[in-house]
């Protein structure tokens, strides 16, 4: 992908929207803006978007609902912006398919770092892998087509979920600390966001385990990290 990535910035507060847009524009992104979810969906349907930056609190269709609707058709990376720094909101956002999360106020460097990491992860998913498939137990991951079969059935995974599952499968049997997982899957800027892992591991278990409450594959190493058992 050599073309400029197109970023959709959605926020009802014009000063903020302008601040993000101007910073991205100056750094070579192609930026679109929307003042609410409705406008954002309209823009998403009509144009190719590589990344969505969404404020949660907006009139007429908030960021979470917008995320849900985008996820119905696309795996485009989504970064959520919110003034609410609460865990519950983050989890809700991740549940609905957001890839990353930023709490207001934030600095421009922070935002740019997240944007780069999210785009990188999306790009990894598109690169050609060394091997075509990895099979562990009943789980078979097709690295070329970005598809995962569990007990013969195809399951839906976001790019981050896919990357996380493949990383776990490649390190079967090893205890993987939180920081290591975050830096490998999310990018080198990450490391302290253990709650991301909790949300994603939960989502993966829902999708691959037969009994998510008593997982067979994704094991929690309390206080350390996670382990994948083939």
């Amino acid at each position: 992908m050599n073309t400029l990535p197109t970023v959709l910035v959605v926020d009802d507060e014009r000063p903020l929207r302008d601040f993000v847009r101007r910073n991205l524009d100056v750094r070579g992104f192609h930026t679109l803006t929307a003042a609410n979810g409705m406008e954002a969906l309209a823009a998403f349907e009509t144009q190719h978007i590589d990344l969505v930056i969404l404020d949660i609190m907006m009139p007429h269709l908030d960021g979470l609902e917008t995320t849900r609707r985008i996820r119905q058709t696309s795996t485009v990376p989504i970064i959520i912006l919110t003034a609410l720094g609460e865990e519950e909101d983050k989890i809700k956002a991740f549940d609905l398919g957001a890839d990353d999360y930023l709490t207001k106020p934030f600095g421009i460097g922070e935002l740019l770092g997240r944007i780069k990491a999210v785009l990188r992860r999306a790009r990894w998913a598109e690169t050609v892998p060394d091997q075509e498939t990895i099979a562990r137990g009943e789980i078979v991951a097709d690295l070329v087509r970005h598809q995962v079969m569990v007990r013969g059935a195809l399951i839906d995974l976001t790019p981050t979920e896919f990357n996380l599952l493949v990383y776990l499968m490649k390190n079967t049997g090893k205890v993987l600390p939180h920081r290591m997982i975050l830096q490998h899957v999310w990018g080198p800027e990450y490391g302290g966001e253990a709650e991301y892992l909790r949300v994603y591991m939960g989502k993966l278990r829902q999708k691959v385990e037969q009994d998510p409450l008593h997982p067979r594959y994704i094991q929690t190493e309390r206080g350390v990290g996670y382990r994948f058992d083939g």
Partner: protein, 898 residues
């Protein structure tokens, strides 16, 4: 003390009156008897002594006499021996001497001279039976005389010469050279002694039984009034007497004769001859006086004894026995035991006696009768009081009381009259034996002057009419009395306190003067009746009060917003209130007896996530300790948060009688909780929004990788500045809000220009260029007395709200009119509007109309709350007006005259 009593009772059985009297009698009589006895003894001895002394003196006197005679005889013979003629035994001479001698001495019947050989030489008188020449040397006295120089006396013997009993006085005769030459002797006629004795004896009566005699030194009787007894040995008459009698002392002695008869023997010695005078007489005769006295004493003792015996007998028959009997009977009476027929007969017999005993028994019988009567009365009264407490139905109790009055007073008609409070007249409340006609018609006005009942009630004392026919006050009622057939009447008032005044009436068919006792008795029945009536009344009252109280508590529990269930120990519903009925959709009837778990299951079926909630509820129900579970149910489209609390229900002794459940509606609490967290997130959001812009632009300016042109830099700094202002204002609003909440907001009143107010507010209200803004101010309102800045904030918040909710293209109107004493501002938009339900909640702090909407509208939650606070601080009101399209917020500010 006890010891003393016991000790005393050992000797004086004072519990028995008979013995007591006997003891008393003995106490009196014994000294008398002792005195008699002592007298008997002393007198007896005295008499004995006297008798003995008199006998002794008599004996001594006789002995003296005899002694004298003997001495004179001895002197005579000695004198004779002096005679020469005697000495030489000159017969002729001796005849002269002897004859002279004989004539002088009548008691001598023979004088004689024995020669040296003991032959009778001569004797005078010479009688026919002369013994001259006869040898008398064998005679003891002759032998004795041979060795003696003094005269001596012989034992008694029968003289052969005179043939008479004699004793011989002998004088030995010695010649010149002292050679024994025979004796001269005289025979003392013992007969003469006997004659003396006879004379003495003649002085005593034959009854005295005197027997006086003299014995010689060998014990022969030598003098005795009865000649036949002469020369009998004394031992033949009285064995054992000769020895003491011849001892030479004089004394008295009681001895027995050979036949065993007792004699008092007194003897006195005749010293010259060694004889003894003996007086003897039978003891009986000797001590006849003593014996007499003795007999008298015995008689006296016997008499006393017999009298005592008789006295005691009479006493015990006539006094003690009846007393004992009476004691027994009175004990029986006291213990209320029946008196046996025998005792009864005794009492009847004894009561006929005229003495004190008779009176005592009569009064005892009277007492018995009165005790029996009293007992009967008491028994009836007791029954009555039992009747009073046996039932709380006053009618039943009253009937029972009247029945008892009837029985005890032996009357047939009784009635209880009480004031009927409704009609204000006295009526029969209960009666017996009276015709229904009489009781039905009887009404007494409280102020009727002549009514017996009213008089009794007014005076508070019993009133009686002893004869209805003669009592002048009764004339008016007389026909009624005749019809009802009674002649006397007693009315006793009841001392009521809590119930209407009443009286007890007793009717008799005959004229009767009620005694004080009878009246007292009726009065005590009246007291019982009072008690019964008052008990019943008080019970009814307290019952009503209890019912009332129960109803109130019931109503309270029923009206509670919280659900309440009381389950018994088996877990079934004993009681549940209305709220539970609603929640479980069961009628109260269906609820009772239903297991508590089923009721809870029905309530839980309304819960969305009902499975986990049910598990928690069930564990709370089975938990012994109080537990608390919260769950949410949906009812009528609303979510209701319920908090279940279980607790043990204990009785007053702390024993568990079941389980209590309270279902508390905590929806409001949860709402408040939610609002609290909402406040925090809203404030956080409100503050972070301008902060985000500030930080964003500040970091943009600080970023190294991009060089911004000067215009851009200025623009960014401008934004930072304005966002800082926004932040500051926000903080001010928050402070105002907290002041409003605390009630400490102070307004700065000034004269405000209304047009200016609205214009300023609209300018700051983030109106978008596409918005249409209209302002309509009534001409009569140019200025208003208010806090300018706060008024601007109110208006701006409303305008801002309109912009946010109605959107950028909305039309917004501000209209100001005067209404009464107020100025009313209205901010109207053409947006989506507000539903009637939400318009009520909208002014609560941080209430968000719609989660998504409010999140989008920064400051919306705070804005309206602040506006409301400011309006109220001005003394006005704010509200949402219903509108066909869009929203219309209105607020009023009172017009203040300066």
């Amino acid at each position: 003390m006890a010891f003393k009593t016991r000790f005393y009772s050992l000797f004086v059985p004072h519990r028995d009156m008979g013995l007591q009297l006997l003891a008393l009698y003995l106490l009196l009589i014994i000294p008398v008897l002792i005195a008699i006895f002592i007298f008997d003894q002393v007198a007896g001895q005295q008499i004995q002594l006297e008798v003995k002394a008199s006998d002794l003196s008599l004996a001594r006197a006789i002995a003296k006499e005899a002694d004298y005679r003997i001495l004179s005889a001895l002197e005579s013979v000695r004198a004779l021996s002096e005679y020469q003629v005697v000495r030489i035994a000159d017969r002729q001479g001796m005849e002269t001497v002897f004859s002279i001698f004989s004539t002088t001495r009548a008691d001598i019947n023979l004088v004689y001279r024995l020669d040296v050989r003991g032959f009778m030489f001569y004797h005078y008188p010479v009688g026919p039976g002369s013994t001259v020449g006869t040898d008398f040397s064998f005679r003891n006295y002759f032998t004795a005389a041979q060795d003696s120089n003094t005269p001596l006396i012989s034992e008694g013997r029968i003289s052969p010469t005179t043939n008479q009993a004699v004793a011989t006085a002998v004088m030995p005769i010695r010649n010149k050279d002292g050679k024994f030459d025979g004796v001269v002797a005289t025979n003392i006629r013992l007969e003469s002694l006997s004659a003396t004795l006879r004379e003495i004896l003649a002085e005593h009566t034959p009854e005295e039984g005197f027997e006086i005699f003299i014995i010689d030194h060998v014990g022969q009787v030598i003098a005795h009034p009865v000649s036949a007894r002469l020369l009998i040995h004394v031992e033949d008459m009285m064995p054992g007497l000769s020895q003491p009698a011849l001892r030479g002392v004089s004394e008295s002695k009681t001895m027995a004769d050979p036949s065993g008869k007792l004699y008092l023997a007194t003897y006195a010695p005749v010293p010259s001859a060694g004889w003894s005078v003996i007086i003897r007489r039978p003891e009986q005769a000797a001590f006849s006086q003593q014996i007499l006295y003795h007999r008298i004493s015995l008689g006296a003792i016997g008499t006393f004894t017999v009298i005592g015996l008789m006295f005691w007998l009479v006493l015990s028959r006539r006094v003690i026995y009846p007393l004992e009997k009476l004691a027994g009977i009175s004990r029986k009476i006291g213990e209320n035991e029946p008196i046996e027929p025998l005792d009864r007969k005794f009492l009847e017999r004894a009561s006929r006696r005229l003495d004190q005993m008779g009176k005592l028994i009569t009064s005892l019988l009277r007492m018995e009768r009165s005790i029996a009567e009293r007992m009967h009365e008491q028994a009836v009264l007791l029954e009555t009081s039992q009747a009073v407490v046996s039932s709380l139905d006053s009618q039943v109790v009253l009937n029972r009381i009247l029945e008892q009055v009837e029985r005890l007073m032996k009357v047939e008609k009784v009635a209880l009259v009480a004031l009927d409070e409704k009609s204000g007249v006295f009526r029969v409340r209960a009666s017996r034996g009276l015709s229904s006609n009489y009781t039905g018609q009887m009404t007494i006005q409280p102020d009727e002057p002549l009514s017996v009942t009213m008089r009794a009630i007014r005076v508070g004392e019993p009133v009686q009419v002893s004869d209805t026919e003669t009592d002048p006050t009764f004339s008016a009622q007389r026909p009624r009395a005749r019809a009802e057939n009674y002649r006397s009447l007693l009315a006793v008032p009841l001392k009521t306190q809590y119930t209407p005044p009443s009286a007890l009436l007793v009717y008799r068919p005959d004229p009767h003067e009620y005694s004080e006792n009878e009246i007292k008795l009726v009065a005590s029945f009246a007291n019982h009746a009072t008690m019964a009536i008052e008990n019943a009344a008080l019970f009814t009252r307290s019952d009503m009060r209890l019912t009332e109280q129960t109803r109130r508590i019931e109503a309270l529990i029923q009206s509670m917003q919280d659900g309440l269930i009381l389950g018994d120990l088996r877990g079934n519903v004993v009681y549940a209130n209305r709220r539970i009925s609603e929640l479980a959709a069961l009628t109260p009837g269906e609820l009772r007896g239903t297991p508590v778990t089923r009721v809870m299951a029905r309530i839980l079926s309304r819960a969305g996530d009902h499975d986990p909630a049910r598990a928690r509820v069930e564990s709370a129900l089975y938990e012994k300790n109080p537990a608390q579970v919260e769950f949410v149910v949906t009812m009528g489209g609303h979510n209701i948060a319920l908090r279940l609390q279980t607790f043990d229900v204990n009785d007053t002794r702390g024993v568990s009688i079941g389980q209590g459940l309270i279902l508390q509606d905590v929806t409001t609490d949860r709402e408040v909780d939610r609002m609290k967290s909402s406040l925090i997130s809203t404030v956080s959001h409100e503050l972070r929004t301008p902060l985000a812009a500030i930080k964003g632009y500040a970091t943009t300016l600080l970023a190294d990788d991009v060089e911004w042109d000067r215009n851009s830099q200025r623009e960014f700094l401008q934004i930072i500045s304005s966002e800082s202002d926004r932040l500051s204002e926000l903080v001010n609003n928050l402070l105002d809000l907290s002041r409003i909440e605390a009630g400490s907001l102070k307004l700065q009143y000034t004269e405000c220009d209304v047009t200016e107010l609205v214009t300023h507010a609209a300018r700051r209200g983030h109106l978008q260029p596409s918005n249409q803004f209209n302002m309509q101010i009534a001409p009569d309102i140019a200025t208003i007395w208010a806090d300018q800045l706060r008024m601007e904030t109110i208006l701006r918040n409303l305008i801002e709200n309109a912009v946010k909710y109605a959107g950028n293209d909305a039309k917004i109107w501000v209209r100001v009119v005067r209404s009464g004493g107020n100025v009313v501002f209205r901010v109207i938009d053409n947006g989506p509007g507000i539903t009637a339900e939400k318009s009520l909640l909208i002014f609560q702090p941080f209430h968000r109309l719609d989660e998504s909407l409010s999140r989008a509208s920064s400051g919306a939650g705070l804005g309206l709350a602040i506006s409301q606070g400011f309006v109220r601080a001005h003394g006005g009101d704010i509200w949402v007006e219903p509108s066909e399209s869009g929203a219309c917020f209105a607020f009023s500010i009172p017009i203040k005259a300066d």
